[in-house]
Amino acid sequence: MSDPTPRPTSPGPSVPRALRAALTEDWLATAVGLLLLAAVLTGVIPTGLVP
């Protein structure tokens, strides 16, 4: 059996960096989503503004 471990050509981001980015994105997405929801409910983003 030849070496079964793939040697892809694309190294991609480092694992710690990808892990940190994923954790930051989680909080950021939560904050942005809830802020947008609050903006709609309080009328900051009115009906008809979003295409």
């Binding site: 471990t5 694992v15 939560t30 409910l41 983003i45």
Partner: protein, 375 residues
């Protein structure tokens, strides 16, 4: 066509193009432009096809299809323009999809989440355990490297790229292995987006069973949302709840993998036992946002008049659609098949075999746990 384009990332780090703020802004502009085009096509194509033989077909093609197709076309264009690596920081599939899912929470009644939580947790536990073990066994059978085996097993059994990232951190995988697993997830997820809603329709599954099957089966959360959106709003809601439940279990698998690799595979001297802190660190926080948005939305709908509630939640849904469109465009823009070409058939066979098992076991569990469930 994307498959024939070599990866820009093959350049050694010193030659890799710099990613700076202007490129980030340009990248965001490209993602927004493609997203706007998808939204526009969704409106104009059915209107243009009205009265022609293509009327039914045009009406059936919805925004996820336009967005993914435009993303794939954009992928080829930015590659040939030499921009793909420079704008990579703007192509944030995970951020767009998670924000879209938090917004989706506002239109799902909290009671539905509570009602579906039981079967969703049971399905997730049974499905993740069985598919992980099947992928692990297949990986061992075909002689895969232990770390790649762990990455692929986590990716195919839990939630695709996010799980692969968590598993890669847990087992200290090489970055090439993470890039490879992420590419494999997207390559398998793309056909599933179209295949599963079609099969669910063919099998006559109810929206709840179809949603549970789609949510439990398709690996990456963005693709689950795309397939759910194609199948219908009720299917989307159940698929999202099931997928969010799987996402929440990433931490458990990451902690188990950390312990297994530290004490059994690498036998690290004096390795620390992973604890609750690590479990919390790996927990996907957007799930909390999704539940919070559902609680806020449920409270809002009960507080204002029906007409006002419909109008406000409608605006939230429009925003949600925009974020989902940006996520689907990003799926197309992110696809890189270069990594897969040199990997050989064994990892593909492991992933494919486990995905087939996932399909069958997932359907059985969805029918068993969600038949008779009403949305």
């Amino acid at each position: 066509m994307v498959a024939t384009t070599p990866d820009v990332e093959t350049a050694p780090p010193a030659e890799r193009p710099a990613r700076t703020w202007p490129w980030l802004v340009l990248g965001l502009f490209i993602v927004l432009l493609l997203g706007s085009a998808a939204r526009w096509l969704e409106d104009v194509v059915p209107a243009a096809a009205k009265g022609t033989s293509l009327e039914k077909f045009a009406a059936a093609v919805e925004y996820p299809i336009y967005a993914i197709a435009l993303g794939l076309i954009g992928n080829v264009i930015v590659y040939w323009a030499g921009l793909r690596e420079r704008i990579a920081d703007a192509v944030r599939t995970e951020f767009f999809i998670k924000t879209g899912l938090v917004l989706l929470g506002a239109s799902i009644n909290l009671n539905l989440i509570a009602k579906a939580a039981g079967p969703a947790i049971l399905q997730a536990l049974l499905l993740i355990t069985s598919v992980f073990l099947i992928a692990w066994w297949l990986g061992g059978l075909l002689g895969l490297d232990e770390k790649l085996r762990a990455l692929l097993s986590a990716a195919v059994s839990i939630c695709g790229v996010s799980a692969a990232i968590a598993a890669a951190g847990a087992v200290r995988a090489k970055r090439e292995q993470l890039a490879y697993a992420a590419s494999l997830v997207i390559v398998f997820a793309l056909p599933s987006i179209f295949l599963l809603p079609w099969l669910a329709d063919l099998l006559g599954l109810s929206p709840a069973v179809a949603g549970a099957w789609i949510g439990g089966n398709i690996d990456t959360t963005a693709a689950v949302t795309a397939a759910g959106a194609l199948a219908g709003e009720q299917t989307l809601q159940i698929a999202t709840i099931v997928k969010a439940t799987q996402n929440a279990l990433i931490g458990v698998v990451a902690v188990a993998l950390t312990a297994y690799f530290a004490f059994r595979v690498e036998k690290t001297e004096g390795a620390e036992r992973p604890g609750l802190r690590q479990l919390w660190d790996r927990f996907p926080k957007f799930v909390l946002g999704f539940i919070a948005a559902s609680a806020i939305g449920t409270w809002w709908v009960g507080t204002v008049s029906a007409a006002e509630a419909k109008s406000t939640i409608g605006v939230v849904n429009d925003l949600r659609t925009w974020f989902l469109i940006l996520a689907f465009v990003s799926i197309g823009l992110q696809l890189r098949l270069g990594a897969l070409r040199e990997a050989g058939w064994r990892p593909v066979a492991v992933f494919g075999g486990a995905a087939l098992a996932n399909l069958a076991i997932g359907l059985g569990l969805a029918v068993l746990l969600f038949t008779g469930f009403t949305v």
